[in-house]
Amino acid sequence: MFKIITAVIGRDLKLAMRRQADIVSALFFFIIVVSLFPLGIGPEPDLLRKLAPGVLWVAALLATMLSLPRLFADDHRDGTLEQLALAPHPLGLVVTGKVIAHWLVSGLPLALVAPVLGIQFDLSADALIVLTFAILIGTPALSGIGAIGAALTLGLRGGGVLVSLLVLPLYIPVLIFGAGAVDATVTGLGGEGHLSLLAALTFASLGFAPWATAAALKIALE
């Protein structure tokens, strides 16, 4: 069971490494969007400190979404996806592998640059740690839920815009608890509760979303 997951992860990572520009552009999209906010709002540190969690999380949502259409599109175009669906392994496990690979390529880099961007917003050290940790454990849920949307819109015209309509409303709980964790830390309430819920969302979506995604892929491949 784990063999097929690790095999898919290895394959997707190798493909991603051959096209590093894709990873880097999504990452820079995140950095640019976050950097635009102080320019739009003004440089007062108090205001920025208050806005930082929300701004960083919304930007993380958008950056993750940006890379979603590519999750299945390339494999669909060259026929790999059909072969994966025909393989004796359950398609849900294959999708689990692809989701994990997607997170390693798109979610993990966000968590790595988040503290740097947090400094731009004058966040305290505690808040930076919680922010990084929240993005680290929250983004797998984004990849998992997003995979459903990517599979549903596979091969459709205007798929990129459509995927955002489908997926963004479902991202709201992650946004609320992710930004809430940082907020609670800043106000001194402690973010453990939010982080626990965020981890719960991640585990639930990693457990269930791949199977919904597999069903959506089968519909799309019919």
Binding site: L152, L166, L168, L170, I172, I176, G180, A212
Partner: protein, 248 residues
């Protein structure tokens, strides 16, 4: 030859089309009757609220619209589950026929809520849990309609839409509670069957209006599903017979 009544007979568009057509006038009539009774009770009979004055009367539209917006999503999810499980053609059509009405109800609920909120809270919009989740419900409706509209193949559009509905219905409680914990300022629910905090006439007016909205939704969904049937089955004999042989 056995010719007993069989409910599954109406699972086919060819037989459901005339049945829906025959039922629409009744639903419209019942909706109008309930609507007139509800409006009479709500606007003329129900006493003026001592805190909110006459402005509260918008709840006779607001509350039924909110109920319907949530209920229609559940009905759509029900049809989605039936369609995915039994591969029935009609369930996808029903779900697609209901979606615009559900979106309209969600929009009406937000609109009347804003009109009520301005004099009562002093703001058109506040970010409290119920308003926000109603807004998210509207987004879910729009996402569903956008997805089904983007897929040309009917079979795929039904199934993909059904899957999205099921995913949405699982997520609604999660979204609701996350938004609720995020912020709560709304007044508590005042409809309670055991111990209602409002006058009986108000409750009856509201229930009558809810029935009116309910019947309206069924009638309009039937009208829409008839159009969808004709469009999708345009190459079949029964549609030709319907279209050339006059009405019904």
């Amino acid at each position: 030859m056995k010719d007993r009544f069989n409910l599954y007979r109406f699972a086919s568009p060819a037989t459901f089309y005339p049945l829906a057509g025959a039922m629409i006038p009744y639903f419209v009539a019942v909706s109008v009757v309930f609507g007139l009774a509800g409006l009479w009770l709500g606007m003329l009979v129900a006493p003026t609220d001592f805190q909110q004055g006459e402005g509260y009367r918008i709840i006779f539209i607001h509350v039924p619209a909110s109920w319907m917006s949530m209920f229609i999503y559940l009905v759509m999810a029900f049809w989605a589950a039936i369609g995915l499980a039994f591969n029935t053609r009609l369930s996808g059509m029903m779900a697609q026929a209901l979606a615009p009405t559900g979106a309209l109800m969600a929009f009406l609920s937000l609109l009347t809520g804003a009109l009520w909120g301005k004099p009562m809270w002093g703001a058109w919009w506040v970010w409290d849990a119920r308003l926000t989740s109603e807004l998210i419900l509207l987004f879910l409706y729009i996402g569903y309609m956008a997805l089904t509209a983007a897929i040309d193949d009917n079979r795929r559009s039904d199934k993909a839409g059904a899957l999205l509905l099921l995913v949405g219905v699982v997520n609604i409680p999660i979204i609701y509670f996350s938004v609720k914990w995020w912020n709560t300022l709304h007044q508590g629910s005042s409809v309670n069957l055991a111990k209602s905090s409002m006058a009986t006439t108000m409750l009856w007016g509201m229930l009558l209006m809810a029935m009116c909205f309910w019947m309206y939704s069924i009638a309009i969904a039937f009208m829409r599903v008839r159009t969808i049937m004709l469009e999708r089955e345009r190459n079949t004999e029964w549609v030709k017979a319907v279209l050339t042989g006059g009405e019904k």
